[in-house]
Subunit: 556 residues, 2 copies
């Protein structure tokens, strides 16, 4: 009987997307007649190739932005274009939300919003933005190859030749993931480039993957978000960095890791050539990193501490320095860096350690940067800061962490990734970092989210480091011990004051709570003298003049 | 005091790799004088560009192999080339191990060995192969961007033009990951191609990333490992497939998933257009898949069950069919499929469900295909079959599975990926699938591995489906209940006979153990009549003649 379902199978056309693509291209070619389109025709091109209800990706990274195309899209007619579903990692520019306010787009799937967090929240409450989900980077890219493939994508590159071959240069970030998903599922790919040249320095995106190229009136917008001025690093941050180096990097022998971005991790980077070197740890820790080229890494690189760094993107002012350090960074034949967020995120996910900061940590160790009335998202932190269950290769740090976690009821031995939160007990005098209940719960209710937006889950977290000491959650037998270990390092916050001194003493005896003196960290050494560089100018000097900091960081 | 460490910083050259690359290229160019090198000069080229101790990757995928270059490397002089560290996903060809036996290579980091498993094991015992680690695919690619970047890589492509632009065609697999890591860290990239043409159909790898191209005397070796003949699917497999559809796909509303390769999952694919369609599940389950284009998917695709499929590679005989289904598959402007294992693995990892088979399952639910005296590895299964801790977007199936798992001591709600093992209680009359102790433990001891090689860990596994029924491990309160749920579906194996009937009755009452009748699965329907296609010939008919099966599968 069922055989009939084969004979009587529905006659269906399986090339609808392809036909739609050809129709869009015909309409687009009628505007320009060439792959290179004048920027004055951007709106006309978009109204010709975009169809109502399309999934659209406007490349918006941590740094590099297709800002011209984003602004032009916002200028399109909502009669011609409406009901768009925006699928992009970062909502960072006002124009990204103008697209919603102007009635062009309705639905949003994204990863991170940053400065636009408050405005998104308002638009969601007003019903002008329907949020599908807040993703991590790898997760959103994955859906580009599953159920969220873009119909039209706008990307940004440094240069293009007349065949549409693109040079993304040092700031690749999301480009390869967006391009591949769009170009190979009958999607329209429009690139905004800073300049059109006869020959690109190297081909990062083959021209036959690109539909149209527009030379932007001005270079794409880029933000130096990974630059931290050593001048404002505090002695408390230096003390915490010393504890991380002795209590975690040295103890576990951490050679492959990812550093979150902040002054706390910058402090670690800046005492590698001094404190860590004096401990004889050069060549024993921090050899391979997955991180953008943060200027505060320069002294450690110059001191020969770091063998290799793979980057998701670049950082303003670091291009010349990075290009001159091809043993450390990934560099193309043209002499400029190749970055790629997919591989950087993967390298970090499968590395031995992630260390970052957060705004709030609860009694289970769940942490979140989500605060009342702001939808921000977490970008890459949840991938870096989660246990890599698909990992099968061993390393000393992974095995030791796994042994410490072995009170897990399962008898099958397994390694563990080290996931560390590096925080001060108060983020400001009125805001304790340690709380009984994360603001994420309120956010869940106010925005009708299916779950509280947690950045790093407690069961993925292995250590918390504060100015008080280190809580090693791997050595806690149950949630009650875990809670007391967390209280033990929570200082004078209400959570900290609620500690049970007897339990904490027992936890300290077995190493689940560690104070500086327990690991030979001399608090008197925790001064700015320990910083290999104490100013941006010092970093420039370390770089032999190759680092060219943005004007706002120059005070000389 | 520390400032001095800056002034007195070690003068070091940071372009050693780059200089090494230039030296290698000079020696290589002396052989050929051109990017296109005659195949007769392959050995001379290799002896010129490879240096002792290099990390070398010979592209060896599930299917596509740089077999000519592998054979030529094995012919090189061990006086010129020795101490190589081979870093590649698949050890599948005898020549891959000849490289070790001939004294060229010493160390091996890989993912999967398959047919060479026994020989590797012998070489390891003889000390001729030192295994660094056995990885999963994504994990090894990640290390290409961390501590295992290749100095020299050999890849395979369908065609190249005279500038070295490569066309990988439908079988991309590992190529993008290998190429990017090698080309951008001063590595030498040598491509073997089936033909050199004036213009490639599309550019998959830009020519300026490629060092040398060699036209191989014969097309690269490729293996049809994803083809399963419906003729040998049994009624037991059909019954299990019915249980999966009702008890898991329908219950959780699974729309995004990955199918392992085997007759068990082929049976599911072949009853989607019949059994699942009659249940009204079309459009409600199995809409997006991350899997190679298995011929047994054809009836489901033709019936409009599957909206999208992203592939790691292709399958012999499927090219024309896939090309004609551009709404479903990822297709390039040239009309041929684009595959990419990195994105396929990622899409599967972040999907809602993985279902596959294994050889052994223990009482905690740990499973492994590792058996005595064979080192095989697991390829992609551990990434597909592990909880995606970095995932933050919700879906109905993910939320429901998370709710069922909520007896987890942690109070923070969280979703769960469905990870299903689909096995018969005996893999053959003398080999029970369910065991008290995995052979992996013996393997650990005999090869001195740091941990037993487990494919899917028990704490990542959510369901086990056998011909007896379904064990839902999410609903088990503790390891004792989990053990009894597993015994309950283990049939007449010693493990199954050891069940506690009282406990099993209680587990069945709460849905942790499910028998066919509990979910309305009528065993009498479990006949081959339910298969939408019962032979390779049926698949060809479903495909409208577009599927062109390899000769060995043709019996007409």
């Amino acid at each position: 009987m069922y055989q009939s379902s084969m004979l009587g199978k529905p006659a269906r056309d399986w090339t609808r997307l392809e036909q739609s693509y050809r129709g869009r291209m015909e309409r687009g070619n009628a505007i320009s007649g060439h792959k290179i389109v004048p920027h004055q025709d951007a709106v006309a091109l978009m109204e010709a190739v975009i169809e109502p209800g399309d999934r659209v990706c406007i490349e918006g990274n941590n740094q590099k932005h297709a800002d011209f195309l984003a602004a032009e899209l916002a200028r399109c007619s909502p009669e011609r274009i409406h009901g768009l579903h925006i699928v992009q990692s970062n909502i960072a520019l006002p124009t990204h939300l103008d697209v919603f306010e102007n009635g062009l787009a309705e639905k949003l799937d994204f990863c991170y919003s940053g400065p636009q967090g408050v405005r998104i929240s308002r638009l969601v409450k007003d019903g002008q933005v329907k949020v599908g989900a807040i993703h991590t980077y790898l997760e959103l890219y994955s859906r580009y190859f599953c159920d969220l493939t873009p119909h039209v994508s706008f990307i940004a590159a440094d240069a293009a030749d007349r065949d549409g071959n693109l040079y993304t240069g040092v700031n690749t970030e999301d480009t390869p993931a967006i391009v591949e998903a769009t170009a190979f599922k009958s999607g329209i790919l429009i690139a905004q480039v800073n300049r059109i040249v006869d020959r690109v320095p190297r081909v990062d995106v083959p021209g036959d993957w690109v539909s149209y190229v527009i030379e932007s009136p001005k270079p794409y917008y880029i933000e130096p978000i990974f630059t931290r001025d050593p001048a404002v690093i505090t002695e408390i941050q230096i003390l915490m960095a010393m504890m991380v180096i002795r209590g975690i990097y040295e103890k576990y022998g951490v050679t492959r890791l990812n550093h979150g971005i902040g002054f706390d991790t910058a402090a670690i980077e800046l005492i590698l050539p001094t404190y860590a070197a004096d401990l004889g740890l050069k060549g024993k820790i921090c050899r391979y990193m997955s991180v953008n080229p943060c200027p505060t890494l320069i002294p450690a690189i110059e001191s020969g501490f770091i063998d290799g760094i793979h980057c998701a993107g670049s950082e303003v002012g670091m291009s010349d320095y990075v290009a001159a350090r091809s043993d450390v960074f990934f560099i193309g034949r043209d002499g400029s860096m190749r970055s790629n967020r997919v591989f950087c995120q993967l390298a970090g996910h499968y590395a031995d350690l992630f260390i970052g900061s957060t705004l709030q940590i609860d009694l289970e160790g769940n942490s979140s940067t989500a605060t009342h009335n702001r939808i921000t998202g977490f970008g890459g932190a949840p991938n870096f800061g989660s246990e890599s269950r698909g990992r099968r290769h061993a390393s000393p740090s992974w095995l030791l962490a796994g042994q410490e976690a072995s009170r897990d009821p399962y008898r099958m031995p397994r390694g563990r990734k080290l996931v560390v939160q590096l925080v001060q007990t108060f983020s400001d005098p009125t805001s304790p970092t340690f709380v009984e209940r994360l603001d994420a719960w309120t956010l869940k209710d106010s925005f009708g989210l299916p779950l509280p937006p947690v950045m790093v889950y407690g069961d993925d977290l292995t250590h918390i480091v504060t100015e008080e000491g280190i809580a090693n959650l791997l050595l806690c037998d149950d949630l009650a011990e875990r809670e007391q270990a967390i209280r033990a390092v929570a200082g004078y916050t209400p959570v900290g004051l609620g500690r049970d001194r007897a339990v904490v003493t027992r936890l300290r005896a077995k190493g689940a709570v560690v104070y500086p003196e327990d690991i030979g960290v001399d608090k008197r050494l925790a001064t700015r003298d320990l910083l290999a560089a104490r100013s941006i100018k010092d970093l420039v000097r370390w770089s032999g003049g190759l680092y060219d900091p943005p004007a706002r960081f120059r005070n000389w």
